[in-house]
């Protein structure tokens, strides 16, 4: 198909597709007329049964906790897959193969020519000053999932930002040190393994996989809702490790080049 034909062909298909979609939607219940039992039941029982004031978290990490294990694993597999696809290729790591078009060398020359200005003092101070508060804030979100909106996924993403801020501040050596692959991978794996382990705990005491058998604690206190808090911490570890690894593999190439340029100065 040539591009022009493809465009018209696609347009016609899309119009037909949305015709079918619209036909399907017109029998939907009107907006705001929720029919199902699921939401109503849970809103009534979740706080009482689980001692969690955030019903969304109670659903995600208890009633439907098994889905969350799957979702966490989707993130995990995507990160592993991305690092697999972006791994340095043979021709980039072999420096002694005698080829003239060594891509790392080319990138080096390129970045020598248009070297970006170093981070300004304002950027350095601001970003580095944010690192500490963000770590505290991230852990706050992770550990308060059962009380307020948030939890392992959201907190984990926040926890992954401090290394990125270090990178933005231009402190590449520190960035490389705190994103050491052995550690990042260990944190990520520990998060997934921890989730599975908490699930298996239920089996050892004679219940079902992911059964919440810990004491539920006082509703509204940080230590409440039983395994929900543990699962949130596991998810927080997996998500933060995963995102740091993602940032690392995307920046790896640039980082090598920049570190060499810095070293050569």
């Amino acid at each position: 198909m040539n591009p022009r034909f493809r465009r018209y062909f696609f347009l016609i298909s899309v119009v037909a597709f949305f015709g079918v979609f619209a036909w399907g939607l017109h029998d939907l219940p009107p907006f705001g007329h929720y029919r199902g039992p699921y939401g109503d039941i849970l809103n009534h029982v979740a706080v009482y049964e689980r001692h969690a004031t955030d019903v969304v978290t109670a659903v995600n990490f208890d009633y439907r906790g098994f889905d969350t294990l799957g979702e966490e694993s989707i993130l995990f597999m995507s990160v592993i897959g991305t690092s697999l696809l972006l791994r340095p290729q043979k021709k980039e790591t072999d420096n002694n193969d005698g080829k003239a078009d060594n891509s790392l060398q080319r990138d080096l020359d390129e970045s020598e020519r248009r070297r970006a200005p170093a981070a300004s003092d304002a950027a350095r101070v601001l970003t580095l000053a944010l690192v500490g508060p963000l770590i505290v804030f991230g852990w706050y979100i992770v550990t308060h999932g059962q009380l307020t909106p948030g939890g392992g996924f959201q907190g984990g993403v926040i926890l992954a930002t401090p290394p990125l801020l270090v990178y933005l501040a231009g402190d590449l050596k520190t960035f490389k040190r705190i994103t050491r692959q052995e550690w990042v991978e260990a944190i990520e794996g520990a998060g997934i393994f921890g989730f599975v382990l908490v699930g298996l705990l239920g089996l050892f005491v004679g219940g079902a996989f992911l059964q919440n058998l810990l004491p539920l604690g006082q509703t509204g206190s940080v230590i409440s809702a039983g395994t929900v808090a543990l699962l949130n911490i596991a998810t927080g570890l997996a998500v933060s490790g995963g995102f740091v690894q993602l940032i690392y593999v995307f920046l790896e190439q640039t980082l090598e080049v920049k570190l060499r340029v810095q070293g050569g100065k």
């Binding site: 298909s13 037909a16 939907l28 929720y34 939401g39 098994f66 989707i74 592993i80 692959q181 520990a190």
Partner: protein, 612 residues
Amino acid sequence: MSLSSIVAHITALPVATPLGTAAVLAALNKFLPRRMADTLAILATLVTLFTETLLLYSVRSQPFVYWYGGWAPRSGAALGICFVIDPLSCALAMLISVLVLVAFVFSLRYFDSIGTMFHVLVLGFLAAMSGFAFTGDLFNLFVFFELMSASAFALCGYKNEETTAQQGALNFAITNTIGAFLVLCGIAMLYSRTGALNMAQIGRALGQQSDATVITAFVFLLVGFYVKAAIFPFHFWLADAHAVAPTPVCILLSGIMVQLGVYAVARVYWAIMAGPFAAHRGALMSLLLVIGTITSLLGAIMCFGQRHLKRLLAFSTISHTGLLVIGFALLDPHALSGVALYVAGHGLVKASLFIGAGILLHRYGSVDELELRGRAQRHHFSGIVFLLGALGLAGVPPNLTFLGEHAIDHAATLVHQDWIPVIFAFSGAITSAAVLRVYGRVYLGWGDRESLRTGKQIPEERETAGPHHRIPAVMILPAFLMVIAALGLTLTPKLRRAAETGAFTMADTAAYQSRVLDGAHLPNTFAPPGQTALTPTLISTSCAIVFGLLLAAWSLSPLWPKQDVIVRPFKLVMGGLRSLHSGHVGDYVAFLTLGAAAIGIVLGLLIRRFGM
């Protein structure tokens, strides 16, 4: 305590074991030696397989439902997620584990240098497929669908040195992500309609009523899952992905992942849609029969036209998956038992054929049929895989595929669709002819190098380093075991009855719903006894293998028409078909959109004609 109540405790292991092991392997990526990673991965797969065997044994008389977190439904409303353990889902999960085991064993000598990432992704793939087979929750089905995709996309682009590998993986990722989006749309529509995500609960809430929302939701689920199953016109990604994926990944994609798309639609139909479509069975049947037939014929014709071995086998998979859709389209438990047997037979045979191709790539550094001509003459032994594989594709008894086809043929005669054996014979003949032709050219040195001017040569990078003069046992042995299993399992007594029991249990919608929602302990549903004539299937499969042999012999003989004397219309048709498979993902997406719209419109019109 009954056996099943003890076994029930390990229901989570087929998902938890591979995921937990994957986490350990990822965490220790830099520290674990290669052999240690191999051992752990194989152990995890064995534990999974063993668990599933126990589960199958415990449900031979009665299925059970396992509620995660212990959240059993209250007054018919499911709060949590359940696994429905019935004979068919256990058998399917066992096939998945066997193929993953084969993939791991094969890769022991296959990749000379990998970290643990390959193991991690394959274990994730295993967990996803097992969960997909067992789950009784529609949203959970989607989660495992996505997990399956996330690991498969990356595995497909494993050879990141080649741009073609990235292209193939990208086509796979884009088309399948659109499929996943459609599945999610369908789930949202059903949720807004019923307020439930549990399949049994949705099914009970809908009852017999079908309106535009329910029909469209089913169309979206059907299209989304059939993108994964590579059904026309959503099949385009499959050949591109198989051509670039490493051989152990091809085993999993072709052997089982594609068939899981067909399984998902069957599961959704019998658990949810059997009621709403009770009045529209005719409409659905005609639509699916047409789609399945086109897929099967197109796949077979494209298969014969390939010279790249992995592409050839990929198109054969498309053709056989089309046959599975024809089997499901009859919407009959007998046919469903045939589909199950066919999936097992085809999975084993196709996996060993891909190993055969992988061995050629390992030994001779090529999967190009013409380039390999006569080069494997000293390795007759490994060629037997291709011979037996061709028999399996044609459905020659005593292959499992024969048993499967027999059950489908039987169901087809009951609804007066007597032409179905002809389609099976045609697809079997063409695909087995293509494999036999490869055998003749590569292992016997027949035919000349120039006669097959079909398709341009696609270079394939070696997957293992250095020249290899011997074929490792871990490569050839699994292939032999699988083709022999495909033959030998047929001789197991009562296999046919067991498959029928599984299918009838899966298709018993009312029993399924009360098991899940009311906690009822209901035994399996047994098929009514009765003998059926083998004759139509015997005729069909013997035609298939005879025509397959003749076609293969003709294509290798000097009588095969040269390029310049081929009749013009034939050339035009083949050229047209080939140009459809352009490799441009924009084309694929356009066809996907048109296909989804067309299925919706046609099904709507058919339902209106048959009476709403």
